[in-house]
Subunit: 336 residues, 2 copies
């Protein structure tokens, strides 16, 4: 008999199939292939093919927009939002709108066209997290922005249009609904219990252990109790922290190590799947709080989502998270 | 400059591209093709290949589970939920779960394997809506269920696995999150204003006219102000009605006529796209109310959804609804 489970943070119920649970081999797996260079705007030497960089590591004082960088951040050439102008909020009868002010940037994670976060060394992954942090801190000084969203589309099936490994940043004058909901519900929980809901989840997951995938001194990764998608995976700092960009410096190192470890496990178990991840952190101006706990949500793209999910926010997950966690936990991954 | 627009019912903000608006021809259109019969479990003569029917129209007293029907409803052979058993709600530490009790049925809309709602005559589409109603009324007598969800996946890209045109019904012991949210927010709006939010939207849409696609005496169809997807389309009764299954009999005829008309327009403008629709109606036990207004949400599948939307509930829509509505409004569709 399948199970209905409730996501404690958002209140969403999902159906977890237990009868005919999908193992990794049951999914039509399309491995992400890196086909080759062609004319890649993200490769060293192609710096002129992107808008001028806003951040680069590793060049050690060399000329901007030339080769020699290890991580490079540039504005998106086809931004979803425009950076210039004054934010203009308006009503339109009973409706609300504003002009599309925002920033849209690309974080090129490595100069190596064949690279991926799973294949890079730990230090290089850590640099990517530092780049996220630096860009968030810079953009937060712009008073028009309410949220800085970091996400990654890996592989064509996950929405990537350029194969050279990269993440994206969108600075928004509003807070995305899902984040607003998580923050508000966490706040309500804290109001009732004087405890962070994520800290509570983390404690229970550690105690039961059945959904834990991997951990190190500072961070833990597990399958959430009521995931919408097979092999959905979360990564959290173990000690309460409300804002990604305000973490203790050592935490970027630990987070990078665990993130890389989990992505390597996914590569083994799911044969280099396309995936997305999103960093959920506190909105701008609400950074220091006791109720929200930043985390990374990873979603490999294994199933074709039947569109009705869009109309209902209701999901059928063919793989129990305990099964997914076991496969990932037992994956034969070398430490380096 | 793009625009940020807020969906008044859910509070979700979306980015509407206005600079490089996508016209219908800009989408990679994959027309839904009906390839042929093979062994189709939904064709007349194949009645023994499905579980025994729970409803059939048109056979006029003939033997159940034989040919001669015009609409036929059967339990799903591979149901997402099980119909047998007592609902057992449990806690699991801080989490909540229940066993997967529910019903999962298939509404075969026509005996014609080559048929589709857009190509069928009005009366046949009306019969499909009556079948939805009859099944909802029957299942509502089961006290375990809180919501009866009607939806349709048309075409492989929309999640259909059998090509013979059909809809689905899932009876649930919980209310799907999106519906709960809409009902609660509508209730709050009514509490503040003593008006139905959908009736207010409807009035504004009729007055401005820019997003209206088509209407008849009882129903109207328009592009919502802040749609997540290009060519997303809603269909509502003009007079307040909170539950689809409690509509005046004449309304099924009008709704069917307009639903068919809108699907025909989509077929012309978007070249027979894959699509989903979902009926949003009041939860079981809350049917008679002043705040919620049943409606159908239709979503043609034109864009590949980059997975990060799942992590944010944040959307970039490349086609302003005013453009989408104009294309559909001006589509050359014959009345019959």
């Amino acid at each position: 008999m399948p199970e209905l489970r409730k996501d404690i943070i958002t209140g969403r119920w999902v159906i977890i199939s237990t009868d005919r649970a999908h193992r990794p081999s049951d999914f039509l797996r399309q491995s992400v292939e890196i086909r080759g260079v062609g004319v890649c705007p993200f490769c060293p030497g192609g710096e002129a093919r992107t808008p001028p960089e806003v951040l680069a590591y590793g060049r050690n004082g060399g000329t901007p927009n030339t080769a020699g960088w290890s991580v490079r951040v540039v504005p998106n050439k086809f931004p979803a939002l425009g950076i210039e102008g004054t934010l203009d909020r308006q009503g339109e009868g009973i409706f609300d709108k504003m002009n599309g002010i925002g920033a849209h940037e690309v974080i090129v994670e490595t100069p190596n066209h064949q690279g991926s976060l799973a294949a890079m060394d730990e230090h290089s992954v850590e640099e990517v997290l530092w780049a996220y942090r630096d860009r968030i801190l810079d953009l937060k000084r712009d008073r028009r922005f309410r949220y800085i969203l970091i996400f990654k589309n890996h592989g064509e099936a996950a929405g990537a249009t350029i194969e050279h490994t990269h993440s994206q940043l969108i600075a928004l004058p509003i807070v995305p609904k899902r984040v607003r909901e998580e923050v508000d519900n966490s706040k309500k929980y804290f109001g009732e219990k004087e405890r962070c809901i994520f800290c509570d989840i983390l404690r229970q997951e550690k105690e039961s252990g059945v959904r834990v995938i991997a951990e190190n001194e500072d961070c833990i990764s597990f399958s959430p109790y009521a995931p919408r998608f097979p092999f959905e995976t979360w990564l959290l700092p173990k000690r309460h922290g409300s804002a990604f960009e305000d973490a203790q410096p050592g935490l970027y190192k630990s987070s990078a190590a665990l993130l890389r470890d989990v992505l390597r496990r996914m590569d083994v178990v799911l044969e280099r799947p396309a995936y997305n991840y999103v960093i959920h952190t506190s909105p701008v101006g609400e950074e220091a709080n006791d109720h929200y706990h930043w985390h990374i949500e990873m979603m490999p793209r294994l199933t074709k989502v039947a569109g009705f999910e869009w109309g209902t926010d209701f999901y059928l997950n063919p793989t129990p998270p305990e099964e997914a966690a076991r496969f990932l936990r037992e994956a034969a991954v070398r430490a380096s």
